[in-house]
Amino acid sequence: MDQKEFFLHHGRQFGTLLGLLILCIVLWILSPYFLTVSNLLNIAQQTSINAIIAVGMTFVIITAGIDLSVGSILAFSGVVLASILRIGLPLPLAIFAGLGVGMVCGLLNGLLITYGKLPPFISTLGMMSVARGAALLYSSGRPISGFSGSLRFLATGEILYIPTPVVIMIVVYLIAHFILTRTKFGRYTYAIGGNEEASVLSGVNVKLNKAMVYGICGMLSGLAAVILTARLNSAQPIAGIMYELDAIAATVIGGTSLMGGEGTIFGTLIGAFIMGVLRNGLNLLGVSSFIQQIVIGSVIIIAVLVDMALKRQKQ
């Protein structure tokens, strides 16, 4: 790809990146503490959970779907993970179970959507309630804590001076980017979202691919649960409420079209950071949480408005 083409195709991402930079500069001017290493690492750490969930959401939205159940799946995975740790079973097993629970819930979504022919909105709305209920039931409605410290590393540890959750996030993004851009599965994900019928007629196994996309989304919610549980050193059955909205927001701000067929994984990363930086900045500035909600909501709307206006201009 020559340079011009590169910009033509990635212009959208540069736009969001520019937005993020401007946001950072403004916050830097308003609060000198903003641009310190410790604050930036703090932002990255806090963003990592939403950013990881948003990866799964990006896959789902590229297929023209939606997943409302990620927050509930996170809670369910979290309590399962914590309960396994508490009875003293090894950490890898617990993590495996956490990811597995997420994946199974996600696949269930996928099967309902493909073989059950349910609209994604409905089946994941159902799952949102079912998984939340399962988490509450499983934990009897109480937080699960009091397990050995081995899990803590995943939240407080560092690899090459970088906090572990951030490292995990980076790895997830690199893998997801590779999958979306270089593999058959990634290509099919875009094709299905762009035109499902044409994909079937091109020999794509649409049902299998879609089910897998929801499975991945669920599994990443499970991964987010691992990190969140590690950070809090306990698992809450009411964790992750409204997380689906943050993930959808990050994805959409990052340029993924709700109509499907379009979107990039790094756009989502930038989107997640815009959300994270904004929260952090508003906290630094001592803005009340009520006003924060208004600001964040407005930013989501403005970001998408600007995006659509730019797209129209290109015509």
């Binding site: 790809m1 011009k4 083409e5 033509l8 195709h9 270089r182 593999t183 058959k184 599965f185 290509r187 099919y188 875009y190 094709a191 762009g194 035109n195 019928e197 044409a198 994909s199 079937v200 007629l201 091109s202 020999g203 794509v204 196994n205 067929g261 379009e262 290109k314 015509q315």
Partner: protein, 495 residues
């Protein structure tokens, strides 16, 4: 004819990122004339009329409407100026009925906004009946065939009382009979003083319906002539700037082994279909709209279920449950509707061409971009796909170039049973010949082709054998020497 000039476009230019679609083009339209716009795929015809309809904004140039300089801001504005357009790609809401589509945005309603459906369907039906086509205004558009949808578009444009009516390849999906009806309507409109801008790649029909012709080449204005002053070959050389030898470069090869056989294949659209296809053969399939031609293709390709009967591939009885399986068995299917079934419009040229072929070009699920690029480059140059690069989204290509992309998908799939449903729809004369030559090459290499087409000259020109379908049955089977237009039409009508 009246010589009043209703519309003048002067020095019109339009550029897109990486493409100059129109470069200093002039165009003039008289009252009550049918003015043909002609040019190769990507010459800029659709772009020119989209500027008129307000869908695109010109980069420079002037438009005079009844000698007053006018800026056309948006489609609504164009509509108010009395400009109606039928786009190359159909623009109907498939979940609504034909009648609702015709009056979309202008529904007859009472003061409370409640739609008067009786009036809506009544008037819609009248418009449709005026076109002498058999469509129920209450039927949902998604249940109509492409040609019927096309006629709904025509009815919709007519209902706007347009003084200038633009038709971008209206006949590309129509059968001969439907074209006759359409031409009759066009003549009636002409008599009423409506001016028509008409785009088509079917050169024969231009002489039948056109008054004047303007030719574009590579976005530039070549010339305007009265249609009686030019011949077909004049037009071709104006369009492509070179001589075109043969329209149908048919080559015959030794017919090889049987590759496909259908025995008693039936489903809700098909009744007892029997035929066999051999390597080295082009089997043409004729028939009217709704005769089951496309349904036959879909059944073979595993997209529709088969209730009874057997399909044998290379002598082996196969149950084809999905297109994926069909592709594995070496079947390729170029669908008739490129927009809804052929292309993923927001993916690039490369990604579309490669979509059915990724299994061959990937290891452990990772796609080799080298192989993809090679194949894409090959077909871009072989079929002269006009695009600024292989990463251009297909939605930004001209209609004919989109069709070439769909064609490429299957040409590089190494399928040896190729089902082409209206393969040359919207493709210019020069490129058609190139596609026919590619078909020759495929059968020379031992593939077999089933070609479904509504263009009889194409069927007669390229097939080795022609089947005719009528109401889901095969009503005629002719070796090419015995086939002619009349016989085919007889069987197609079931008489």
């Amino acid at each position: 004819m009246n010589n009043d000039i209703v519309l003048q476009m002067r020095h019109i230019s339009k550029s897109f990122p990486g493409v100059i679609a129109l470069d200093n083009v002039d165009f003039q339209l008289r009252k009550g004339e049918v003015h043909i716009l002609l040019g190769e795929n990507g010459a800029g015809k659709s772009t020119l009329v989209k500027i008129l309809s307000g869908a695109y904004q010109k980069t420079s140039g002037d438009i005079f409407f009844h000698s007053t300089k006018t800026e056309i801001n948006d489609p609504k504005h164009a509509q108010n100026l009395g400009i109606g357009i039928i786009y190359q790609e159909l623009n109907l809401v498939s979940q609504l009925s034909a009648g609702e589509n015709i009056f979309l945005g202008r529904e007859p309603a009472n003061n409370l906004g409640v739609i008067d459906y009786k009036k809506l369907f009544g008037e819609a039906q009248k418009l449709i009946d005026d076109l002498k086509v058999d469509i129920d205004a209450r039927r949902l558009v998604k249940d109509l065939g492409v040609a019927q949808q096309q006629m709904v578009e025509v009815a919709k444009a007519l209902s706007l009382n347009a003084q200038i009516l633009i038709m971008d390849e209206p006949t590309s999906a129509l059968t001969d009979q439907e074209i006759k009806e359409l031409f009759a309507s066009i003549r009636r409109l002409k008599d009423k003083g409506v001016s028509i801008i008409y785009i088509s790649h079917r050169l024969e029909e231009l002489f039948e319906i056109g008054d004047r012709v303007t030719v574009l080449r590579d976005g530039k204005y070549v010339g305007t002539h009265d249609i009686q002053d030019v011949t077909k070959s004049d037009l071709i050389s104006m369009m492509v700037n070179r001589e075109l030898k043969e329209q149908f470069p048919k080559q015959t090869f030794k017919i090889g082994d049987e590759i496909l056989r259908l025995e008693g294949v039936s489903n809700q659209h098909l009744h007892e279909i029997n035929f066999s296809l051999h390597r080295g053969e082009i089997l043409g399939i004729a028939g009217l709209l709704g005769s089951g031609r496309t349904e036959l293709a879909r059944a073979i390709f595993g997209y529709d279920n088969i209730r009874n009967g057997n399909i044998f591939i290379n002598g082996k009885n196969e149950i084809i449950t999905s297109p994926k399986k069909a592709i594995k068995l070496g079947i390729g299917y170029l669908t008739e509707d490129r927009k809804s079934q052929g292309l993923v419009l927001n993916l690039s040229v490369r990604e579309n061409i490669c979509l059915p072929n990724l299994d061959n070009w990937s290891k452990l699920g990772v796609v080799s971009s080298k192989k993809e690029n090679e194949a894409t480059q090959k077909y871009i140059s072989e079929l002269h796909i006009k695009t600024p690069g292989m990463h251009q989204k297909t939605i930004l290509l001209s209609g004919g170039n989109q069709q070439k992309v769909v064609m490429s998908k299957w040409l590089c799939s190494h399928a040896d049973i190729l089902i082409f449903d209206e393969p040359t729809r919207g493709i210019d004369v020069g490129s058609k010949v190139e596609i026919y030559q590619l078909m020759n090459k495929l059968i020379a290499e031992g593939a077999a082709i089933i070609m479904i087409s509504s263009e009889l000259p194409e069927l007669l020109g390229m097939s080795d054998r022609i089947l005719v379908m009528h109401q889901g049955k095969i009503s005629g089977d002719f070796p090419i020497e015995e086939a002619n237009q009349e016989k085919i039409l007889h069987c197609a009508l079931g008489v």
